[in-house]
């Protein structure tokens, strides 16, 4: 505990850890793992509830589950946003900041449009009298899509942050862990939606 301890760089001893996957990205992957398990709980509840109730969906609400209605546009937009998000990652890996900003900007806008469409959809459902309290169908529908929507909202906030940071010039080909991490999260949100769309609308 004398002069030898003058260690100005608190993380000097972790210098060896620079190989392999970076800490923030590993952290995000683990966080996504936990999110997968969260949705697994909700999905399990959905299947259990659906199995206990026939017919599913109840006749009154059968018409809202038209997979070729407006929902297909929202789905296509969200899937497209996953692609633009990945284009943004590839751009910044090359060091192409303009391409990065363009793609992440498009992703951000697509995410916002998806949310807007979901809000509009909810408005339509409410006007037809379907709420959280309309029996097991309403409960599961709004819980699953609602939690997905909340995750999209979280993703949009993250996209906003990396868009802002990108405009401030904080990312380069070498330093863009945040972009990689957010893109992983965004893909996860997209995959959840594809599963949700499949179980709610298709099967």
């Amino acid at each position: 505990m004398t002069t030898a301890v003058a260690h100005p760089e608190p993380h000097a001893a972790s210098g060896h850890a620079q190989r392999g996957i970076s800490n923030p990205i590993l952290g995000m992957l683990l966080f996504i793992t936990s999110e997968v398990m969260f949705f697994a709980g909700l999905f399990a509840a959905y299947f259990a509830t659906r199995a206990a109730n026939t017919p599913w969906p109840p006749a009154v609400f059968a018409h809202i589950l038209d997979p070729l209605g407006p929902i297909i546009f929202a789905t296509i937009l969200l899937i497209a946003s996953s692609f633009t998000c990945q284009f943004a990652v590839w751009s910044i890996r090359r060091g192409d900041r303009r391409g990065y900003l363009r793609n992440i900007g498009i992703t951000f806008v697509l995410g916002v449009v998806f949310l807007a469409m979901q809000v509009y959809d909810y408005g339509l459902l409410f006007s037809e009298g379907m709420t959280m309290g309309s029996g097991p169908f309403g409960t599961t529908y709004f819980t699953l899509t609602g939690f997905h929507g909340a995750h999209v909202f979280g993703g949009v906030l993250m996209l906003g942050v990396i868009l802002y940071r990108g405009m401030a010039g904080q990312f380069s080909a070498k330093h863009h862990d945040a972009v990689e991490a957010v893109s992983l999260y965004w893909h996860f949100v997209d995959v959840v939606w594809i599963l949700l769309f499949t179980i709610l609308y298709l099967i």
């Binding site: 003058a6 260690h7 952290g27 997968v36 398990m37 399990a44 206990a52 819980t143």
Partner: protein, 570 residues
């Protein structure tokens, strides 16, 4: 300390309290975890005493009615599980893991602080239930619907909602902590610290963190659904509206059974550090222990429905079989521990005494648990005091004894002072006797058919004597905390100065000063085995790897130590 002025983090130094409230140092956060959890241990203990006082004799004496009694045992269990055992083990891990792997801190120090600060907030929300109309949550720590649902005969008050919110917060804290541990363990190990040279404590925290990250979100989903049912007119768990009540039990236990291992694996890690040090031997079967730990973690996900045998809604043979299977890796560990001590030079210091307490009590907890794994026996014993005895033998006899072993073991490292051995032994013996006096009679009560969670019982049911005995034991446990608290206060001021390595430990935390500097290590010893400090003390490694300057002594050491898990030579 002089080091503060040179550390960039010290720029905004404002003295004691501010420093603690804003710290991101894993050691300070670890100590705050311990202090906070111990505080909630005392609160949970007070509720336990209230419950035991009520049950000492037949009739309703202490509580104004049964509902208040329900609140007391619900909050007792919730506090003990979610605000004491899980976080205090996370606290020991928080303190020890970065030191044990030679890292300067956790991977995400600020998230670490966030994880901690969610705990007191969650605790305050939980206890705030008592201030609301209708009182705190009263549906047990499991909060099964329909008891916990909306509706006049269930839990209409906001206490149950506060319980849900509090548990979601604490669960989030756990998840963030688990992610932090995993990234720290995978990414921050010192050069030479391979996975199979990590201390067992680190391995148990690793497996625990996997369980936390994979299982805790599932209970969050159950809690969220319950909250939706209660507040937004949902019908997940309401059969008359098309929901399924057993669904909650499935989702709840999918978390809460792995959570049992979250509550005991780190304590197993603690005693796996303590036993070798105080037996002067390496851990018997290091790799077997690791695989057993991983096996418990994996099997832990396939036994959740053994809590639900009597629902008639689960596939009994599968869950009974898997539950018996999980006894196998646990048995492996018992052999590891017993043979670590076998023919060792035992020093009966307080940490070892508590570790032996763990071994013996956890053995009873394992055996009476195996009874309940058998379906026909479980049908008879389900929801009786037998189960209360079992879970306390595992969680108190196991985990809490392990926690105290860890506190006595690492207190010198944390504070630079030794705890008093005499008071430590007094603490142990009062607690040991009190514990058995409290919980052993519950086996008899269970077999005699006394259901759990009742405030009153018939005076001719034949339960009076055992209940009185258990209550006396409960107060003995409370008394045993006095020498411990006194010990901590006295030793902090006047305890013997510990020095860097008072126990002649094996692992890296003993290579730095006590207490360690903010960045943990000035320099690290060579890491060529799972006992780098043993190697540093006794010259070259006896475990293969490249030898040190006096290599010729290596074979002799090998023989003396009888360390035989490397090659056929020994």
């Amino acid at each position: 300390m002089a080091t503060h002025a040179l550390s960039p983090a010290a720029a905004g130094y404002r003295g004691g309290v501010y420093e603690w409230l804003t710290t991101t140092d894993h050691k300070k956060i670890g100590i705050m975890y311990l202090v906070n959890s111990f505080f909630f241990f005392l609160i949970g203990g007070i509720f336990a005493l209230l419950v035991r006082t009520e049950l000492a004799t037949p009739g309703i004496q202490l509580f104004e009615n049964e509902h208040v009694y329900n609140e007391a045992f619900s909050i007792h269990a919730t506090v003990m599980i979610f605000l004491f055992i899980i976080p205090i083990l996370a606290g020991l891990g928080n303190y020890a893991v970065p030191l044990m792997i030679g890292a300067p801190d956790m991977a995400f120090p600020r998230i670490n602080a966030l994880s901690f600060w969610m705990l007191p907030l969650g605790g305050i929300l939980l206890l705030a239930g008592f201030l609301t109309e209708g009182g705190a949550a009263a549906a047990g720590w499991t909060s099964y619907p329909p008891l916990s649902e909306r509706g006049a005969l269930s839990s209409p008050g906001p206490g149950q909602d506060l319980w849900i919110v509090s548990l979601v917060l604490i669960g989030t804290s756990s998840i963030l902590g688990g992610i932090n541990f995993l990234v720290t363990i995978f990414k921050m190990r010192a050069p030479g610290m391979t996975l199979f040279r990590m201390p067992i404590m680190v391995w148990t925290i690793l497996v625990t963190s996997v369980l936390v990250v994979m299982a805790t979100p599932v209970i969050t989903s159950a809690l969220v659904m319950l909250f939706i049912d209660r507040n937004y007119g949902g019908s997940f768990f309401l059969p008359d509206e098309g929901g399924t009540a057993v669904l909650y039990q499935n989702v709840f236990w999918f978390y809460s059974h792995p959570a049992v291992y979250v509550m005991v694996l780190p304590a197993m890690g603690v005693i796996s550090e303590v036993l070798p040090v105080f037996s002067r031997k390496p851990l018997f079967g290091y790799k077997a222990f690791i695989f057993a730990t991983a096996g418990i973690g994996a099997l832990g996900f396939s036994v959740w429905a053994h809590h639900m045998f009597t629902t008639g809604a689960v596939f009994l043979p599968f869950f009974a079989l898997m539950t018996f299977f999980i006894a196998v890796p646990t048995g492996v560990k018992m052999f590891n521990w017993v043979f670590t001590m076998f023919r060792g030079q035992l020093t009966f210091s307080t940490p070892l005494v508590f570790a032996i307490g763990f071994l013996t009590m956890f053995l009873i907890g394992g055996i009476n648990g195996a009874f309940s794994a058998s379906v026909p026996v479980d049908f008879a014993l389900h929801d009786t005091y037998w189960v209360v005895a079992h879970l306390h033998y595992v969680l108190f006899g196991g985990s809490v004894f392990g926690v105290f072993a860890g506190i006595y073991y690492w207190f010198p490292k944390m504070t630079g002072r030794m705890l008093d051995e005499g008071l430590g032994h007094i603490h142990f013996w009062i607690m040991f006797v009190g514990f058995n006096l409290t919980f052993f009679p519950m086996h008899m009560l269970g077999i005699k058919g006394m259901p759990r969670r009742i405030a009153d019982y018939d005076q001719f049911a034949g339960w009076n004597d055992w209940n009185l005995l258990a209550t006396i034991g409960g107060f003995l446990i409370a008394v045993s905390m006095l020498p411990f608290i006194w010990n901590v206060f006295v030793s902090l001021r006047n305890g013997k100065v510990a020095g860097d390595d008072p126990w002649e430990g094996n692992t890296l935390e003993w290579a730095t000063s006590s207490p360690p500097p903010p960045y943990n290590f000035d320099r690290l010893p060579e890491i060529r085995s799972e006992r780098p400090l043993f190697d540093a003390r006794h010259g070259p490694t006896a475990h293969g790897g490249h030898g040190g300057p006096d290599q010729e002594e290596a074979p002799k050491l090998l023989e003396e130590d009888g360390h035989d898990d490397q090659g056929p030579t020994a």
